[in-house]
């Protein structure tokens, strides 16, 4: 199963993850 997030955000939004990285619920995905 997969979850796709689509969202509008200020252009300076930055993801805080890498492709292929393991992640847990509540862990930072991105921030301004």
């Amino acid at each position: 199963s997969t979850i796709v997030l689509i969202f509008e955000a200020p252009s300076d939004f930055e993801f805080a993850v890498q492709a292929g990285q393991k992640i847990k619920v509540g862990q930072k995905l991105g921030d301004l």
Partner: protein
Amino acid sequence: LFKAWTETPTKWYPIPIAVGALLLVVIQYRKNSRKRNPEVVLDQDGVEVVKLKGPWQVHVMGALPLRNLSRLWGYMNSLQLPVWFRPYGFKMYALAFGCNLDEIDPDDLQKYASLGDFFYRKLKPGARPVDDAILVSPADGTVLHFGTIKDSRVEQVKGITYSLDALLGVERPGTPTAAVKSTRSDLDNVNDHDFANVNGIEYTLDQLIGGQNSPARPAGGTDSRSPSPSGDPAPQKFGEQVDASVNSEANLTDTIAHDAGVARDMGVSAAVEGSPVARPIARRRSTSDKDVRPGNSLFFSVIYLAPGDYHRFHSPTAWVVEKRRHFVGELFSVSPFMAKRLENLFVLNERVALLGRWRHGFFGMVPVGATNVGSIKVNFDQELRTNVRGRRPPPGTYTEAVYSAASPILNGQPLSFAEEMGGFCLG
């Protein structure tokens, strides 16, 4: 034949270098032109028609009865296991798929009656600390891909894209598609207590989106909240009144406090204790990257849940879900192996698009089903039924429900940071 095969001499002739070079140029040109002009077929509304594309393995998968297999898998895994076997069986499963048994709730493995139960396990309170960021992960898993959306195309893997409109659906008012039910736009011109007529079925506006005469929200926290009666394909769903009575003043107070918290996290100064008329954020209907606010962009992120992962999903931010669109589709595996080979994988598969808004504008979350986990649950949507037997609607169509009645103040289903939203079940 054998003699001819073995004894016929092979004569090699040199070909001019120019011919070989020309051949390479032609091959390269065809490859490039295919990349530049993907075979995008549009329907009469200009929406991309999604077809199965990929190598032969993909077409073999497409020929299999994946939905039936998925339901059979779900049935088998719902069978009760002998109590004595459960600890051994689940420990073996945990060892094979890397589950952490220390964090599950309850931790007594005998209490999980079936593999399906264990698969949909809960975590102990506090097992997942929530980061103080504006966006957190909605699930345990692996980040497959992320980035910005350009020209309404979402990148599945490097170089392969799919249409944003095909993923989330587009509103097609007036299109006589049986599977597409009422949307807010159908109702914007309908007065309170009027009867709306969509697809030949009548119901009151109050029944559909909730009004002053409609029952208030249910008690017992967010899990028991019901959407307004949804646009489900089954006609008998219409007119059916969801039990949404308030049982106690205390629970109503909790609910209002929850909504106020979400509004505060969204940066909204809503009059939550006042009259339910505030609609503090402009509602945005379009998901096109051309329609985002100045200075904003559309972003995407894809998280893959492996079989051993915790399979419930949580709210990645404080937001309000205005509607859901349920797309009945295939149930291909969504493993990274398939994602690299099957184009439009996330558009072909069964999925539930939850659409709403957060403090920066549009926000959408799309749980996508797969062969082994075809059932998607949404806690605040008791009407939703996924991976069910029956005639398949035309590709690209969806059923829609709105959550206006869930919170008249925020005009949707408010969700706070990391609040549990639902999950994936086996089969």
